[in-house]
């Protein structure tokens, strides 16, 4: 397919969903079936294209940008911003994952509509999100990156705010009484915006500073990375810019202690919102570290690596403890994300090829597994009308298939070897034993490794605790006589790919590593020399 060569194919993957959103919005609201089909077809075509992309991808040159638009494709000439998009081995898995999750979410929604209904608007938001997410992963221009990064904000904000949990939440300390969905959506929006404001600031600073070395101002990630590799962004300037980027990305990940928007957003969001949030949105932050912060500011990345590593491990342990105290199933899964993303950040903080590879496979695995967990938790709370694990019990009796799937997802989430989650955790720990020597804090990282390993034990602890309460035992009196439908067709269709991919990536991690390894090795070599 020649039109993949000059960036048209990739552009189509990015913008097809938003075109779909426009089409959906133009359709009459009453024609729900037609709206669903249109949305699904747009998502499916996008997925098909991204699979073609993955097949056509030259894995022997995974460290080069492929299928891209020319680097000088004009966009906003006034600020020298270009429409430069491309994929390499690092972004390819994320692009495919985003397209896949979009399709699964639409399939799942087929007969699971959160109130107040309105499929037209919800599906339009899902499709806009898809464009924003994919765009972020392929953007090679900071302005473009920023725009896509922010595009996801509004649809998610509305998704939580409109279709979210309507129960009243009393905010501790302040005593505000607010609807859960309003509190959560507000917090999500403001928190993320707060972070990205500093990120934007960093981008702008880089833009002005680049003139000193290039003779012109540039937002190009490629050009800035070259400058970064030459070690020009240093000193106070480098530090401030890195902090700006750090805030933007760390909020999104989210890293402890910037994580408190996450449990609220996840708990309040409708099922598909939680899935998209967990599966893709959180990865925008970690991806930003790998694609932007490390290559452009390698010296600062090294300087702050111990700090990031410590925060990551605090997140792992802290998230696990918070999980152990939960009674709300969705909240437990949300806090587990803090822990899992802690492993991803620990991998990144080692600044080694093994660690960053671990981070990427960890991102993909978390997307698959936590996506599945949120799907299941959503379906279960839909049936039980509660997320309280003290009230649910004996799901293996009431809905054996659902129970088995939850068991599978929980086992995958606790990092069972031969399932996808294992590689990210184990390799992150391995990388921490042997972090980049330029950091000069090897002993610290070895200590972090030990705490990370303790984290894997705690993770097993809360996952088993959840299974004990939700899956096992006998159904409580409350639900003993209520007939509950086991996994339905739409759920099977949406979940089976996640189950199969969790197995496939677990047994053949090469599916991911073959794409990422060369790209990561070259990224690390370029940023840190040799």
């Amino acid at each position: 397919m020649n039109w993949f060569e000059n960036g048209w194919g990739l552009s189509l993957i990015v913008f097809l969903p938003v075109i779909g959103a426009a089409v959906v919005l133009a359709m009459p609201k009453a024609k729900e079936a037609a709206i669903k089909w249109v949305a699904l077809i747009f998502a499916l075509v996008t997925l098909a294209l991204s699979v073609v992309l993955a097949v056509q991808f030259d894995y022997s040159a995974a460290d080069t940008y492929q299928f891209g638009t020319p680097i000088d494709t004009p966009w906003i000439s006034a600020i020298n911003a270009h429409f430069h998009i491309a994929v390499d081995g690092i972004s390819l898995p994320m692009v495919v994952l985003a397209a896949l999750i979009t399709v699964l979410v639409i399939i799942y929604s087929w007969n699971h509509w959160p109130e107040p209904h309105n499929p037209k608007l919800l599906l339009a938001f899902v499709l806009i999100l898809a464009t924003g997410m994919t765009g972020t992963f392929v953007a090679l221009d900071l302005v473009l990156f920023f725009v896509f990064f922010e595009v996801v904000l509004l649809p998610m904000y509305f998704m939580i705010g409109i279709w979210g949990d309507t129960s009243i939440r009393i905010v501790p300390v302040f005593g505000w009484k607010m609807e859960m969905r309003l509190y959560a959506s507000l917090k999500f929006f403001v928190f993320t915006l707060f972070g990205s404001a500093f990120m934007l600031l960093g981008f702008i600073a880089l833009y002005f500073k680049s003139e000193e070395f290039l003779g012109y101002r540039s937002f190009s990630i490629v050009e800035l990375s070259d400058l970064g590799a030459a070690g020009v962004f240093v000193g106070t300037f480098g530090m401030l810019v890195f902090l700006g980027l750090f805030l933007g990305f760390a909020v999104k990940v989210p890293m402890w202690p910037l994580h408190t928007w996450l449990p609220d957003a996840h708990t309040a969001a409708p099922t598909i919102g939680s899935v998209i949030l967990a599966a893709i949105l959180l990865k925008l932050g970690t991806y930003g570290f790998i694609r932007i912060a490390i290559p452009i500011l390698p010296d600062e990345a090294l300087r702050w690596a111990p700090f990031i590593g410590v925060l990551a491990v605090i997140g792992i342990i802290y998230g696990s403890f918070a999980c152990l105290a939960q009674t709300d199933m969705k909240r437990l899964i949300a806090y587990s994300s803090v822990g899992h993303m802690g492993f991803v950040m620990l991998g990144i903080a080692t600044m080694t090829d093994v660690g960053i590879n671990a981070a990427i496979i960890g991102m993909v695995a978390h997307g698959l597994i936590t996506g599945l967990l949120f799907f299941i938790a959503g379906s279960m709370s839909h049936r039980y009308h509660t997320r309280d694990m003290r009230r649910i019990g004996g799901t293996m009796v009431k809905m054996p298939k659902m129970g088995v799937l939850l068991g599978f997802a929980a086992m995958a989430s606790l990092g069972l070897p031969a399932l996808a989650g294992f590689w990210g955790e184990f390799m992150a720990l391995l990388a921490s034993f042997d972090p980049n020597p330029l950091i000069g804090e090897t002993s610290l990282f070895r200590g972090l490794m030990v705490f990370g390993a303790i984290g894997t034990v705690l993770t097993a602890g809360y996952m088993l605790y959840m299974l004990r309460n939700v899956d096992f035992g006998s159904p409580s009196a409350e639900f003993a006589d209520t007939p509950l439908e086991d996994v339905d067709t739409a759920e099977w269709l949406a979940w089976t790919p996640l189950v199969l991919l969790t197995l496939a990536v677990g047994i053949f991690p090469g599916i991911i590593f073959n794409a990422t390894n060369d790209a990561v090795i070259s990224l690390v070599a370029k940023a840190f020399g040799g």
Partner: protein, 697 residues
Amino acid sequence: MNLLATIIPQIILATEEGGHAEEAAHAIVPGITSGALVEWAWLIPVVPLVAAFLIVFFGRKSPFKGWLMAELSIGFVAVYGTVLFVLNATQGIVYEGQVEIARIGELTLEWGWMVDGLSIMMYFLVGVVGLLVFTYAKSYMHGDIRFTWFFASFSLFAGGMLVLVASPNMIQLIVGWELVGVASYLLIGHYWEDLTNVDAANTAFMVNKVADAGLFLGVIIMAVSVGSFRFNDVIDVVVHGEEGALSQYAFWAGLLIFIGAMGKSAQFPLHIWLPDAMAGPTPVSALMHAATMVTAGVYLLGRLFPFYIDPSGLFGGDVRNIIIVIGGITLFLMGFLAVVQDDLKKVLAYSTVSQLGYMVAAMGAGAYTAGLFHLFTHAFFKALLFLAAGSIIHAVHSNNMVDMGGLRKKMPITFWTFVMGTLALVGIFPFAGFFSKDEILASIRYAGESGQEVANLILFLGIAGAFLTAFYMMRLVALTFFGTYKGHAKPHESPKMMVYPMIGLAFFALTAGWVNIPGVYTGFTTWVATREPLTGMGDHHSESFDWTLVAITSAVVATSLVIAWLLYGKDADTQSERDRFRIPGLWPLFQNLYYIPSFYMRAIVRPIMGPMANAVLWFDMHVIDAVVNGVGAGSVVFARVVRATDEDVVDTVYNATAAATGASGSVLRKAVSGRVQQYAAFSFIGVLVIVVLFIVF
């Protein structure tokens, strides 16, 4: 002529170009190093795993509701394992197959399969014992609510163990290791309607997970130091005595890996899960306590044996003293616990822990062959004892020995096979345990004489352990089979499908020890040796029996049997009358398992689940989140002030933002009353201010 040297060839890496040229010089007789037989051996772990999946999906509609698939798959392993076992015994087999699955940094990830003495012994054990137990289980589990599911989990259990023992690298070892763990979780919690069973399963999983964390770290240190996950690359470094990263971190790597082994092989103080694991159906115990799972730790010590025996003194030699002490403590302390149990299966469970202590102590003494030999014989007679116990439980509908007694006449085959298992476990000539336990004690004595001082102490514990073993087994036999029947059900001999596997195992309980008789026939020694360098590494094979030791242990065992018979042989109405020698201070200590489980509960589990977890959550909501909400609320206030003072600037930004947000947001605008836009406006002002600062500076 050293038989070993003639039989054990080099590791030849069939899929690797070049191989190990330097070591090839050592090879004397290659034996079987290639060919379809070994190249297709990857089927051994794969077939039961595939069967497990097929049973889940198609089991209910297949013949015998999935049992047949399970039986055929384990039968395949048994046949393949036996063929390999026989060929290895006659010709020697060494082969290692690898398939690269990924590269990460400079490391290579592979799936592979070992076909060497150590792995072949395990294939044989898992296959043969597994086949007999699976056959037995069809009848035992008849009418179970989750019959099909049981055989799926059972196949997964066997398959996971085979993945583990087939593994040529540490990653695959971990995969098999945890597959066994998760399968055991499913099997222990088989009756999950009752939460006590689920708790037992959770305990097993969590204790193993704690140990696994040690294994993870040990493997990481070892793999990073060597630059490879392959056992053979680690062993090459050890054999050549290369100083470097591995020698630098050897103690920690060795200790952490041993902690992993302690978990699976239920060594003190990580033994608590194994008796709890009795919550699962009895066939599970038979497999778990014999060929599968608990043997994994001993197997791993065997696989890394050169590292621990450490001829150059650079590597894991120091850890061996820890290993032998842990083994010694386990075999001694756990023996007492078996004495005070009233639950038939629990007596056997603590007996297993105690016997595992012997194996681990042997490994710690540097006695590779002795440790594996006991693993080999124990697998048969312990599986037999559990199957016979299951037969009893099946008949009397109770685990408790209070409900038994006098079963000798009612269940004659069960009685006689059980007695054979007992004689093997206690170590009576010519039953299997006699030879393997003697070899362990002889090796520990040899280690003591060769300078490992702590071994002298462990030798005493070992002999005392033999006393305890004989005592609790005689007690068990007396309480169960002699006296009068006290139960309520009407016991009768079990069906043929259950009895035949017991007879099969009884045959092995008698004969399995004859493959390694000092001075007569020591074939086993050569069968399990994996590569030539092992022979020169202090593994001691005595040329004849250590007659002094044989005399001492035999006397000790005989005395113990007599004492136990005198105490328990006489019938009594209640258990407490029989246990009339209860020692006031010690009896509660033993019955409460030295208070170790309650210590874990009070010192670790409850504080973590309760105060610590709650404190973190409280901190999250009342401190971190309060800061966030406070900053948010403060910004709103501040934004209002700014707006009041600088209408123009703010309004411009405000309107711009509002326009963007509002375009799609009419639904929510009312609800949040513009607060979002205010926040947004504030953020943008902040940005502008800092941009200006940047440009200036």
